[in-house]
């Protein structure tokens, strides 16, 4: 479609001349980053925070550092509305926008991840699924193109169980306890089932799984069941409006919020602020800490919002999901930087970024140098382990902010690793994939 390219180029040129603020339009010689985002629909509030942070960090790299080693970043965001079919359309649209492809895609939806997971190897586009998506993709020998960076759902589920165990005073005390998994009835919500069942068998607690249909703004019957069952703990595996409704309904039926633990998609200001005082005392696992007390966040506030005035939404700065977006963008940027080390300082292709991701090593020193400090744990990705950390941290909502409630901790990593390998092996057999490391 030659004419389309011409039009796109003309549009980009005009946008540059007009100096339109914010629009990081595509230009030749830049590292183009395709973003499949969502800011409307039932999950729009979550998406706006995450992608706001994502774009703000890219702007920071451009404004403060002049790009990655002098290569400016450009980008385009395509609205998916958290809808799988639209996600595929966006993916296809972004994939051809630049000679080097869309760098790496963050689908930000487990459903969309599944829909494009088989396309990635043919298109040679790495997918970064930061804390969501297909858990067994952590085995990079079977899924060389997918990077569930940091921790996956099974790490979260076992981490939550461990957190509950510490609150109860040790693994032994879990025996005979009753735990309810209240989950979003979707691919996302079903991810932790197998691992929680295994944990229940191992540690001897009773597990009851209660689905909440999408979008989850009506939970009377579920909480009635919970009240009858009288569990010791409720794990909230929610997303979007479901989490806030769960907290409010819990308050209505008188279930203590101090006995509710969310996962990291059910633990942001979007969820707790919407629930109001009902959220007080609620725990949630987290991939990253919220707050503004990090040099990188202050830099964004000063440079992107203050000087250049291209920030997305000042109200979101420092929220958990916004910080997560910043961290997600940082992974993409660092992967590009790593790839540049090997392949030279020019816009790098998907294949090169994939190598960069697989060799990503962000230790505490590097985190500090980038201004992330303790927002994230150190991460070291390898072919066997596309996650690179497996750690989670718990925080508690204290009425106006999230307070840290634990240190970085790991769940039952041996169990998780074994289940990942089994599941990946099954996928490999089904798809006739010979598991092996891809290398450079």
């Amino acid at each position: 479609m030659a004419w389309k390219k011409t039009v796109a180029a003309a549009v980009a040129a005009i946008a540059c001349i007009a100096g339109s603020p914010g629009a990081i339009a595509q230009q030749a010689g830049t590292q183009f980053i395709g973003i499949t985002g969502y800011r409307v629909g039932p999950y729009g509030a979550n998406g706006a925070a995450f992608f706001g942070g994502f774009v703000d960090y890219l702007q920071l790299i451009n404004q403060r550092d002049g790009g990655i080693n002098g290569i400016k970043l450009s980008g385009e965001e395509c609205e998916t509305e958290y809808n799988n079919a639209k996600g595929v359309e966006c993916y296809e649209r972004l994939k051809t926008k630049s000679a080097t492809g869309p760098t790496a895609i963050h689908p930000m939806s487990t459903g969309i991840t599944y829909a494009i997971i088989d396309k990635a190897p043919t298109d040679k586009i790495p997918l970064i699924t930061f804390g969501y998506g297909r858990t067994d993709a952590t085995d990079g020998r079977v899924f060389p193109w997918v990077f569930p960076i940091m921790s996956n759902y099974w790490d979260a589920a076992t981490g939550i169980v461990k957190f509950i165990a510490t609150k109860e005073g040790g693994d032994a005390n879990l025996k005979g306890k009753k735990i309810v998994l209240l989950y979003h009835d979707s691919a996302y919500g079903k991810e932790p089932h197998a691992v929680l069942e295994a944990e229940a068998k191992k540690l001897g607690f009773e597990l009851k799984m209660i689905p909440v249909p999408h979008p989850g703004n009506e939970q009377q019957s579920q909480w009635l069941q919970i009240r009858q069952y009288k569990p010791d703990w409720v794990i909230n595996w929610g997303w979007g409006v479901m989490s806030a409704t769960a907290l409010q309904t819990a308050q209505k039926v008188g279930f203590p919020r101090e006995k509710m633990v969310g996962n990291w998609w059910a633990g942001s200001e979007v969820d707790t602020e919407a629930a109001g005082p009902a959220a007080n005392g609620y725990y949630a696992a987290s991939l990253n800490l919220g707050g503004k007390g990090y040099p990188v966040v202050q830099d964004i506030e000063k440079i992107v919002y203050g000087k250049a005035k291209v920030g997305s939404n000042p109200k979101l700065i420092g929220t958990v999901l916004w910080n997560r977006g910043v961290a997600a963008a940082m992974f993409t940027v660092e992967a590009v930087r790593k790839a540049q080390e090997k392949y030279g300082k020019k816009p790098v292709t998907g294949e090169q970024v994939r190598w960069g991701l697989e060799n990503l090593n962000i230790d505490a020193g590097r985190l500090k140098a980038m201004g992330f400090n303790t927002m994230l744990p150190p991460i070291k990705v390898s072919c066997q382990d596309h996650g690179g950390s497996g750690q989670v941290r718990f925080q508690q909502w204290v009425g106006n902010e999230w307070k840290s409630a634990s240190d970085w901790m790991k769940g039952d990593s041996a169990l998780v690793r074994k289940m990942i390998e089994d599941s990946a092996a099954r996928y490999a057999a089904e798809k006739n994939i010979k598991p092996e490391c891809m290398g450079g």
Binding site: A8, A18, S20, G37, R39, V40, V88, T96, S312, S423
Partner: protein, 358 residues
């Protein structure tokens, strides 16, 4: 002037009964097919094929299936997506569990499974009509995705209920690139559309229309209501099932039961309402309207905003797109309540008289 049948004399029953009695129509259809089969694969980019044309064809097939049931047989259904899910999951399981089964056989078996389920959920239609029947088919829409999630055997014990389609291979030829997938979908859809066109002109098609127009009268003149209605459900579900299998195998590659939700059923229902109820052509026009227009609007609005130097977040253009899309639907329904197919028919009638309308 160009589109006129004067001078085309029919001298045999065969000539009178053929599918496209007017020469220009025949040429038109053949040209369209030739363009779709030859020119499109040569010219269209991967984006056009995978993100626009394949979903358009798949949805057109699903709309065709619904149109057979709702448009021709007059039975309102809200279970289209569920029947698509049955087709997709059945084809997946046949392909998975029977070694060496040809993919087309899997698709056909998937369609037949869907037809059987369709007949089951069509049974209430023997007693209830109209909106009440719509509610009964709504049961299918809620029950089937629930069942597919509940019984993990259907998804081969996938931890999240997602199935990933096996490669499509016919006689050693693998349909893996966008062009090949497109051609595969195109051929399946074209053959099934042709079959549908013939079917609605046959005895069973006429029986459907008789039942639709007045079931008591149809029964009086000797049409078996039960048989006719259930065949309509079976055929319709078969089409939807195959569409579902194509949706999984040629379009998304991996699907989850929740993808086949009520929203999708409604989309397909809107396709036939906008395209034209009781028209094969209308199914295609409606599918084109519903699948292509939002993408077109999205691109126009996004690029337009950049052009004007506006720094709109992607959410704003997306909302604007919904507003424009909704307004267009209302506009078309006011201008032509019988659907785009009716507009097409009016255009053809006008063309016959053109340029001398009197």
């Amino acid at each position: 002037m160009l589109y006129r049948e004067s001078g085309q004399f029919k001298t045999s029953y065969a000539a009178d009964q053929q599918l496209f009695p007017i020469l220009q129509d025949r040429i038109g259809v053949l040209t369209l097919l030739a363009v779709a089969l030859v020119a499109v694969p040569l010219l269209a980019s991967d984006y056009w094929l995978t993100a626009i044309l394949i979903p358009f064809l798949v949805f057109a097939l699903a709309a065709l299936g619904l149109n057979i049931l709702t448009g021709y047989a007059g039975q309102l259904s809200l279970g289209t997506a569920a029947f698509m899910a049955v087709g997709a999951f059945a084809a997946y399981n046949f392909q998975l569990r029977i070694p060496g089964i040809p993919i087309l056989v899997s698709f056909a078996l998937g369609g037949l499974t869907s037809a059987a389920v369709g007949v089951l959920f069509g049974l209430p239609s023997l007693r209830i009509k109209g909106f009440y029947l719509a509610v009964a088919t709504l049961a299918a829409q809620f029950f089937i995705p629930w069942l597919l999630v509940k019984v993990s055997w259907f998804s081969n014990n996938s931890s999240s209920g997602v199935i990933t389609a096996q490669p499509v291979e016919i006689l050693g030829f693998v349909f893996d690139t966008p062009v090949r997938k497109y051609l595969f979908v195109l051929v399946v859809v074209a053959v099934m559309a042709l079959a549908a066109k013939n079917m609605v002109r046959s005895a069973i098609g006429r029986a459907w229309m008789a039942v639709r127009d007045m079931d008591v009268a149809a029964e009086v003149i000797g049409i078996r209501i039960m048989q006719t209605k259930l065949i309509a459900f079976a055929v319709s579900s078969f089409y939807c099932g195959v569409a579902g299998a194509l949706y999984a195998y040629a379009y998304l590659g991996s699907v989850e039961p929740d993808g086949f939700n009520l929203d999708l059923s409604f989309r397909i229902l809107f396709m036939i309402i906008i395209g034209g109820v009781g028209s094969i052509m209308g199914s295609f026009l409606g599918a084109a309207f519903i699948t292509l227009l939002p993408i077109f609007l999205d691109i126009v609005l996004t690029d337009g905003a950049i052009w004007l130097g506006l720094n709109l977040p992607s959410g704003t253009t997306s909302m604007a797109q919904l507003v424009v899309f909704g307004a267009l639907i209302i506009f078309f329904l006011i201008v032509e309540p019988l659907g785009l197919a009716r507009l097409w028919q009016i255009a053809k009638e006008k063309l016959r008289l053109w340029p001398f309308p009197h």
